[in-house]
Subunit: 405 residues, 2 copies
């Protein structure tokens, strides 16, 4: 047995093992109520319909659903997906789409195509951890853009684009992970104007916008600046994440290189899964399923917000998103979200300490991300009551206060 | 609309668009008999059985088959796959396996984890083009190792390992793509001894060994040097390539980093496809299907070899592999395989000019790769008769002779 440490690439030597994964190992303990993770409820999947969808795929496509296919995507899937997106107000043709193994693979491939070591990415802080992990492999430098409840600040973005050579701006525009925040319509227009004026590139990651429980749908940032936006989305939240079906719309040059890089990386995405999705969308099952998913999640979110009003002590603030999968809590100064995590875990309640979503974890010590899609209303109410008790018993964490001061 | 050329990474600026793809565009013309590609026959897929396999997956796993899953792979698939490999003489436990989106993604991830720009890879020339394309993204330097009909030459490998800091040796050990050649048992032992002595790492790519039509199965190189070998294989040739199911066995340190890199790149592979494969293997369908595939391909190969004896002019030599998907032809000096390709295409017969598989294309001008799995015996006989006629009408290609001299 040899030690191959010396064979690792420079990029591997800077690769981070997933720290959250370590602290979340306890989540699988028996009896744990998990508000961690960002996983759809298993009862949101169209299991019964899948029997029929499978048969239809085998009847309709036969061997073609099992064969090698084009890198761009399975043509019947691209056609139905383009129609679905266009109906939602996202102008797309089959030719413009590119399918990936989940949106994670679109993020990875973007990093591969655009990032040399030391290149700058502008983003919100906190940001989606999976994106940081995908891009991080290519050794970029992150430029944090200040934000408020409506999204990143236009003047802060403009200043950053002036000061740095920024490869792209990464944004989750609707029901952001981890905060649940949505960029306002006016802010979308302002950001679009800036990127057009500065010929900059935005990567808009939009996995959650179909999960809207209240309020009016907003057009994606992409629709304000299509020539400057890589729009990425997924069927993971409205069909099944296990099928690993992400996709993107991108300016032609970027799309061509993404396709070339994808061909070298995995030839093409799963043909069979794309055929299932073509049937899921084309047969109209999706049009019945998305309202069912919303009807499942909306009361869970309402239960969480009501329980928070009842149980979370004064001094804590939290977001009230109109959709998505997460609520974000910010405690008063001195609170240590990770210390609270370990106390809550003793009481069989888990969530994600928010600091892990920050470029600089010290900026997010008093924050927490709570997911409401995975467990039912009664369990949510009990879990939040427990969390409130833990918070009251630990108004300020001494160990964390020491670390902060 | 902006021009984003300046946003591309250094690696993208060196990325090659697939040249073969360009010249093979004509293959889809109506009436073309294609001996190009390396694609399974659609009639080799277990379409009828898929109805039952799908039902069994939904009955047995339900929502778990549609949910997010571990990066390493879907546990029931890993278990059945480990059993299947062990039965074939490839000692493996579920814990040692790692699932990828096709073996192409295993190659890409290996490149990502091991290669910094300028690092050396040792390989045979000609080699599998997809591997060159996967590794090429990470800007390596290729060191060609001389070979004969039994595989790479031990003394040439030993000298290369002495002279260069080689990250890994890439080999398709059985029924190689493109040559069809198989490394002999004695050569496997010799190569294993060298890599163990020199603490080197071999990447053994083994997609074809199940497709054996004659002769005795050989143990993989992995079994001679398990601590020094990353063994990669796939279900693409014995189940369905559209499911994108590749996998690897690797020394622990390499495997851990592959898993970390894969998590950043795509979270995990398609759960549903893995569940289908678990059922395909576990229910015993695979044990009936592989002999059917062999019964389909063996006569096609026999038909091609017989037609070559009858029609290919003197001066040409070709391999007679005991299995796989390819036969490799080498013409006499002065023959230009690509010029022959264009003449053959006029007669509605396509193959792949062999020079594209070489590090230095000039080394492979008179070579050609012929695939026999995709079309039936009668079409193969006619195609080879045509090819023989084209060869006789163009004994030496004047344009290529000029280029060589």
């Amino acid at each position: 047995m040899s030690d191959f440490q010396h064979l690792l690439s420079q990029r591997t030597q800077t690769m981070q093992r997933n720290q959250i994964r370590e602290i979340l190992k306890v989540v699988s303990q028996p009896g744990m109520v998990s508000l961690a993770g960002g996983i759809p409820a298993p009862e949101s999947f169209p299991i019964e319909e899948m029997y029929q969808i499978n048969e239809a795929v085998l009847d309709r496509y036969g061997a073609a659903a099992l064969q090698y296919d084009r890198t761009e995507g399975f043509a019947p899937f691209l056609e139905t997906l383009a129609g679905y997106l266009t109906d939602k107000g996202i102008a797309a043709t089959a030719d413009e789409l590119l399918v990936f193994n989940g949106s994670q693979s679109a993020l990875d491939t973007l990093g591969k195509v655009l990032l040399s070591p030391g290149d700058c990415i502008a983003l919100e802080s906190p940001s989606y951890l999976g994106a940081l992990s995908a891009f991080g492999v290519y050794q970029p430098r992150y430029i944090s853009i200040a934000s408020d409840d409506e999204g990143i600040l236009p003047e802060a973005l403009d200043a950053a684009l002036e000061r740095h050579a920024i490869k792209f701006i990464y944004l989750v525009t609707t029901f952001q992970n981890p905060t649940g925040r949505t960029m306002s319509r006016q802010r979308r227009q302002q950001i679009a104007d800036i990127v057009k004026r500065r010929r900059a590139l935005v990567v808009e990651d939009d996995p959650y916008s179909d999960l809207r429980y209240r309020g009016e749908a907003l057009p994606p940032l992409h629709s304000f600046a299509p020539g400057n936006t890589v729009y990425i989305s997924t069927l993971s939240k409205i069909f099944a994440p296990g099928l690993r079906l992400g996709f993107c719309l991108a300016p032609a040059l970027i799309r061509d290189w993404l396709c070339t890089a994808k061909q070298s990386a995995d030839l093409h995405s799963n043909t069979y899964a794309q055929a299932l999705a073509a049937e899921y969308i084309g047969s109209g099952v999706i049009a019945r399923q998305v309202p069912k998913i919303i009807a499942l999640y909306a009361p869970r979110q309402a239960a969480m917000l009501a329980a928070m009003d009842a149980h979370i002590p004064a001094g804590y603030r939290w977001t009230k998103p109109e959709g998505g999968m997460f609520i974000w809590i910010e405690g008063p100064p001195g609170v240590d979200g990770e210390a609270l995590y370990w106390r809550a875990v003793e009481q069989k309640v888990a969530f994600v300490p928010g600091k892990y979503f920050y470029m600089n974890p010290a900026d997010g010590l008093p924050t927490m991300r709570l997911n409401f899609t995975r467990v039912d209303e009664a369990a949510i109410e009990r879990a939040i009551a427990t969390l409130g008790r833990v918070m009251r018993e630990n108004p300020r964490d001494e160990s964390s206060r020491k670390r902060i001061n």
